[in-house]
Amino acid sequence: MDPAPPLISFRGVSKRFPGARALEDVSFDVASGSCHALCGENGAGKSTLGKLLAGIDVPDAGEILVAGRPVHFGEPRDALAAGIGMVHQELSFCENLSVAENLCLGDLPRRGLLLSRPALEQRARDMLAAIEATIDVRRLVGDLTVAEQQVVQIAAAVGGGARVIIFDEPTSSLSQHEADHLYALLGRLRSRGTTCVYVSHRMPEIFRLCDTITVLRDGKHVATRAANALDEAALVHLMIGRELSEYLGQKADREPGEALLRVQELSSPGRFADIGFEVRAGEVVGLAGLVGAGRSDIAKAIFGLDAEAHGRVEVAGKALAGGSPAAAMRAGLGFVPEDRKRQGLIAGLTALENLTLPTLAQLSRFGWIRFGAERARAEEVFARLKLPPPGLDLAAGGLSGGNQQKIVLAKWLAARCRVLLLDEPTRGVDVGAKSEIHGLIRDLAAGGSGILLISSELPELLALSTRMLVLREGRLVGELGRGADQETLMRLMAGVDAPIVNRPR
């Protein structure tokens, strides 16, 4: 009766993890040749579902059918054999090996007992050529950009015979230009009949790439719809289960107060030169630029994390000795770094311990931690961030991305910093948490803090910043006030007539 069965079916799939929300009784189909989006807030279970399909985790209950037949993947190898490959959010490669070696790692070509290097490289080149990519197979994977590593992963999946490729938030650390390349590659894959399962929370790319959208919320299946039957507002509504009244909007600037942060002639060889600006109380100063323009480098240098930087940084009128995050902190600076996992959190410590890490000296007497004061301070900040109090004693590594990001922010709220450097504060954060973080940024500015905001998401930058500094190749090239439009900003970032290219990182 039915035509062909769907390529992949989830039937009542459930999965539990300690400390993390998981999947509960999820059932839906993925049609052959489609590009199927998996959407939901962080912690909704999207990535978990992808991992079950790729054989990285095993479901506790329910079954997965491929072409109508139930499959049991105990290992990623099993999934690959069934034609399912995955492109991971955190790329998993042997960084010390070459592209060719990584691509052929499961089945290294041999001649007798010895490794056959020509055969190895030829096979790798063939695999890359199959997806029309050109990367020198002799380069070490550790030297590639994230975008190039992704291409290698895709080549590995396709070369391994994958008919289905799962993309887990592939653009979360790509520049716009690199993302465009990825979209084009996805298009080519689809034209060859490859089925794509695309995990993302970026609205524009979901609607641009996908024909079907499945929404998960709190580990449960909410809906599977055709993409053209939904718009952004409807999708957001499905994802968070309520209307999001102020998703980027509302501007109430107050008159900026005294200068809290003054940067003069700040330079770092090879990164940026001659940077000067002010952030005043009540301001959100956006720092715009393409990836590689030096935005994060400047924030790091201000916070004392760049030993080669020189120049003058003043916080609330007092000069800051360079090269010392501790001194920056004491002066009232807080820094939310872009890489939450590596730079923001200590996964093995509890949320509470992470949160009070920079402030511990204040919460102690003669080196003894005052546990009561520590907990009180953490609870106060937790309440402000609308985080559930029991979460305080969970290990930070087990929290969802949105909550992790809030903990990183909370560190500096607990430290009562007046100047905050925020580097991609909403990267990898779901829409709900994102809107809360936006609200928080506005509240902080309204409360008299000064904020330097770095973001690759132009709408976010435009909506939050009271003014924007534009950076290109390590130099300040312009300043835009509130009300600037995206195109003007984009052109300034890229250089007016120049094409949008990235400097190699």
Binding site: P18, A326, P389
Partner: protein, 390 residues
């Protein structure tokens, strides 16, 4: 105590209340990580009975293994008739053997507390045996040439010299690790040879006798009886307790966990990594100095060959006690228990009259088995928590 402790449990008893990962981290001296029920940990900390807390703690496993070994040894050891009193005495379960075992363990256990702090910070200290030897030799030479010949003065001078040499050696290790940016394995491998070499050269490979007052101090019976010497055992308990307090209740201790868990994020949080790293090696050196003071005093002489190979016993004790070599996890009390367990296994070979030639093989196997069991129980605990969460 502030307001956080006084909240009624009902106010916070909703939401996911199981600090699953906190338990999996296995750091036992923190009461908050022991509560499994929902709600305010501060409240539960008080409500939970002592017994349940003990059973849930990470020490429980080690303590149970040690107790089982004690019982087994007592049953298997047989007995003999005491020549003077005419009473039947168990060959193992008698105060002499027990305190002797604790004394053997104490020198290793004291150093294992310091080694655990280093391991939690993500480092390693291979030089503790050499620091022990150098501190002992330095102390012996100092007393022979410049110090008081006996009395309480000699004890104090010996203590200060040993601890000072230990602390200085630790500071040197720390400064080299931080300043030269070389992996601590290499630095302390180097200083392991260098420090023992200094001890060798300065002592001219001679054994140096110590004043009798030191031995009198270290072997003070404290009213227990003529052949019972509890001082090293008491020192071990005090050092383990101090180590636990340092790790769990002080800012520096928390910083050690943070640096071991993620050095980069710690730096981004404004911690002074160099200072913290030097601090942990100083602590390790101090414990080695203290162990040298006690050990040398106890045995009455020092030589440059003292404590050869102790670094491996010390690190093994820390690891059997659950310290993770990649950093971020470990416990002072468990390090002590680890040392006790290793020494107990060694003792059991003697008590049971097994072939002593097999000692190293048996200890080696026991270390691997202990660590595998520890990992398995951690996985089991994580799974049980996952299953119970619904």
């Amino acid at each position: 105590m502030s307001g956080g402790y006084l909240q009624p449990p009902a106010a916070t008893s909703e939401g996911p209340g199981v600090p699953a990962r906190a338990v999996a981290r296995g750091v036992d001296e923190r009461p908050s990580s022991l509560t499994r029920s929902a709600g305010n940990p501060a409240y539960n900390r008080r409500a939970m009975s002592l017994l349940r807390r003990l059973l849930r703690s990470q020490q429980a496993g080690l303590v149970l293994i040690i107790l089982a070994l004690l019982v087994a040894l007592s049953l298997l050891a047989g007995s003999h008739v005491d020549a003077t009193t005419g009473l039947t005495v168990n060959n193992f379960l008698n105060s002499y053997t027990l305190i002797q075992t604790a004394t053997d363990a104490s020198f290793i256990a004291i150093m294992a507390v310091g080694a655990t702090v280093v391991i939690i910070s993500g480092g390693i200290d291979l030089s503790v045996g050499s620091v022990y030897a150098l501190a002992g030799v330095g102390m012996g030479l100092f007393l022979r040439t410049a110090g008081p010949a006996g009395g309480a003065g000699a004890v104090w001078v010996a203590f200060v010299v040993c601890v000072a040499i230990g602390g200085a050696a630790g500071a040197l290790n720390g400064a080299m690790v931080v300043g030269l940016r070389v992996h601590p394995f290499i630095i302390t491998l180097g200083s392991m040879w260098i420090l023992r070499g200094i001890a060798f050269v300065s002592s001219k490979a001679e054994s140096i006798l110590l004043p009798e007052s030191l031995t009198h101090f270290a072997k003070a019976p404290l009213g227990l009886g003529a052949a019972l010497y509890p001082i090293p055992m008491l020192a071990m308990l005090v050092v383990a307790a101090l180590g636990a307090i340092y790790l769990q209740r002080t800012v520096m201790g928390r910083h050690v966990f943070a640096v071991g868990g993620n050095p980069e994020a710690s730096r981004f949080s404004g911690l002074r990594l160099g200072r913290i790293q030097i601090g942990v090696y100083v602590l390790s050196g101090l414990t080695a100095g203290l162990a040298a003071f006690l050990g040398a005093s106890f045995y009455g002489s020092v030589s440059c060959g003292d404590a050869t190979g102790y670094e491996l016993y010390v690190i093994a004790s820390a690891v059997v006690g659950g310290a993770r070599l990649s950093g971020g996890r470990g416990s002072a009390i468990n390090a002590m228990l680890g040392a006790v367990l290793i020494v107990l296994i060694r003792q059991s070979i003697r008590t049971l009259h097994a072939d002593q030639n097999y000692e190293w093989i048996i200890i080696g196997c026991a270390i691997v088995v202990a660590v595998v069991l520890d990992q398995a129980s951690a996985r089991f605990a994580a799974r049980r928590l996952a299953g119970g969460e619904s």
